[in-house]
């Protein structure tokens, strides 16, 4: 360590400029660049370049066949002023993410907090029960069977047996039910990475802090939660939030699988579906790129906003 800090003080050396010093450091650490090279190449090719490319293409009318023309802001103007379905998609996405994101975050945290004081074996079992739906692939399709449109569906037969309804409801083909049901299914699959991160974060809080808190007059578990637990697991809260937000914007697949594409009256149509429609089916790549760029900005903004909120926790 001593050797390293001595070298880093060398920034202030008089015999070389900052640039020369950087170059020297780069040459000294050439192995580091070698080690990161494969990952950075792949990351650049499949994450950075696609993002940049979609920003660039969003100003053109590229359609995969002809040489594109630059159309400046036409795509964006069409999106926001001429494309009614896009506005529906925006509303749906915001409702969807606005409910699923916070709800899944709260549920992940509450469950993790509730099970924190259980014995390790019981905790492991409960963790599995809550985590399993998020890793089980397409198991959510079972909701389609439970809420099946005919009277053989379990929910419909229950409603008819008890006399609440006389006719079966076509749940996933009825614009009134599409959103609420998809939100429930999305929530069901949403106790994923953030949930595990919270469990670990809670386990990591030093028990002596709680004892010190009790001595200092913390009266109950709620005060303990606010004054001790939450502030000491802020890093996990932050990471969990990012995972929850990104997840909340990524549930388009569930809607497509359960309601078909496009969903009835566009009731479950999200920005993601709009993107798939124009990019994957109509090959209007320029227009699709504008949609992708808007979606990208919405996600980044949502994350920034939430980061701000979480930094205020416990203060």
């Amino acid at each position: 360590m001593a050797k390293q800090s001595a070298e880093y003080k060398a920034v202030a050396r008089k015999d070389m400029t900052y640039r020369q010093w950087i170059w020297k450091e780069m040459k000294r650490n050439w192995v580091a660049y070698l080690l990161i090279l494969p990952y950075v190449l792949i990351f650049t090719a499949f994450t950075i370049l696609p993002v940049l490319l979609s920003v660039v293409l969003s100003f053109t009318n590229f359609n995969m066949l002809q040489i594109p023309d630059i159309v400046w802001l036409d795509n964006y103007i069409n999106l926001f002023f001429a494309d009614d379905i896009f506005l529906t998609a925006c509303t749906n996405t915001l409702i969807f993410a606005g409910i699923v994101g916070p709800a899944s975050y709260l549920m992940s945290f509450l469950v993790a907090w509730f099970i924190n004081e259980l014995s390790p074996k019981v905790r492991a079992i409960v963790t599995l029960i809550f985590y399993a739906p998020s890793i089980s692939g397409q198991v959510y399709l079972i909701w389609g069977t439970l809420f099946s449109a005919d009277s053989y569906g379990w929910v419909n037969s229950f409603l008819m047996e008890t006399g609440i309804k006389t006719e079966p409801i076509a749940f996933f083909k009825d614009a009134d039910y599409v959103m609420p049901l998809c939100i429930i299914v999305a929530l069901w699959t949403s106790l994923g990475t953030s949930f595990l991160s919270f469990i670990a974060g809670l386990q990591g809080v030093d028990r002596s802090m709680y004892e010190a808190g009790a001595v200092d007059g913390v009266k109950n578990r709620w005060q303990e939660l606010w004054y001790i637990t939450l502030p000491s697991m802020k890093p996990q809260l932050m990471f969990g939030a990012i995972m929850a937000i990104t997840g909340a914007f990524g549930f388009g697949g569930i809607v497509t699988a359960l309601c078909g594409f496009p969903s009835v009256d566009y009731a479950g149509h999200t920005i993601m579906h709009h993107l798939e429609d124009y990019g994957g089916q109509r090959y209007e790549t320029g227009y699709a790129s504008a949609i992708a760029t808007v979606l990208f900005l919405i996600m980044i903004l949502a994350n920034m906003l939430v980061k701000k909120i979480i930094s205020k926790v416990g203060s």
Binding site: M26, L35, Y131
Partner: protein
């Protein structure tokens, strides 16, 4: 000043009975909500045909059978692309994708966590930012880039992007930050060990929980991958896609499709059961400071 309760000189944290009861009730209700659909899919897979179409439907199978599992294998043998091919595709993608990801990401994570070099912080914060958006954003333009690289409709279209999976790198780097002491690396370097050697023989054995987490995450996402917009050929499609085709075969196949779903979900669930404590340990260092 609150009364301080102690037992054997240890502070007993105050927990009200009402709070305990309330929490238990909520936990049980949420637990039922989580577990019922899972039970139902297993129950569906065990129902004989007449029970699948019984009115009123029963939640649990009355006379469970494994007929649906047998049907599934018959259906598999009848498909024009042999089912073994779909299974091979999924296993091949999962294994090659996961192994490549493990080495490429951990190498990069080691350099970012344990070597100070110009640009390292910037590269890491860029990678971290990419956790903030979903990969759908890049799907269309990735398609263009992949066709430029001639990767469309090959295994590589699925495997190579999986090597660059961001969450795995992030978790590995965070774990190395806290679990590989600089002093140990420093003394190895003084003894003349190269960076590649310290990475492989000193750092990597210290972060086994992170390895497992990386493997599980990457394997899960590749195993559960359905149809991809980058793959057209029937011969290259995944097992999950083929199961989707069975499900799409209509009501006659409801039982077989439930059986397929159960088989598919067993693999990731079993892997998680085995590695759970390691994954939770890795998550302990997942936090973001700023």
């Amino acid at each position: 000043m609150a009364r301080l309760r102690t037992r054997k000189h240890k502070v007993v944290l105050s927990r009200s009975v009402g709070g305990d009861a309330g929490i238990t009730v909520i936990l049980v209700l949420l637990g039922i909500f989580m577990v019922l659909p899972m039970v139902y899919v297993i129950s569906q897979s065990l129902k004989p045909l007449d029970e699948l179409w019984m009115y009123p439907p029963r939640f649990l199978a009355q006379s469970p059978t494994i007929d649906n599992y047998r049907d599934l294998f018959t259906l598999m043998n009848d498909s024009w692309v042999p089912f073994s091919r779909y299974i091979f595709n999924t296993v091949f993608n999962s294994v090659v994708g996961t192994l490549g990801h493990l080495f490429i990401a951990s190498m990069c994570a080691y350099a970012l966590a344990k070597i100070k070099f110009p640009g390292g912080k910037f590269i890491f914060s860029t990678i971290r930012t990419s956790l903030m958006f979903h990969s759908t954003v890049t799907s269309i333009t990735s398609f263009i880039l992949m066709s430029a690289l001639n990767m469309i409709d090959t295994y590589w279209a699925v495997i190579v992007p999986a090597w660059g999976y961001t969450l795995g790198l992030y978790l590995m780097k965070q774990f190395m930050d806290t679990h590989v002491p600089d002093t140990v690396l420093e003394s190895a370097r003084l003894d003349g060990a190269s960076e590649l050697r310290t990475y492989w023989t000193i750092a990597m054995p210290m972060v086994k929980p992170a390895w497992l987490t990386l493997i599980i995450y990457s394997f899960q996402s590749l195993w559960n991958a359905g149809s991809s917009i980058y793959i057209y050929s029937e011969q290259l499609k995944s097992f999950n896609y083929a199961i989707g085709q069975i499900t799409a075969g209509g009501i006659k196949r409801a039982g077989a499709s439930a059986a397929a779903t159960v088989l598919m979900m067993l693999v990731p669930i079993l892997m998680f059961v085995i590695t759970q404590s390691n994954i939770v340990e890795t998550m302990g260092s997942s936090g973001m400071k700023d």
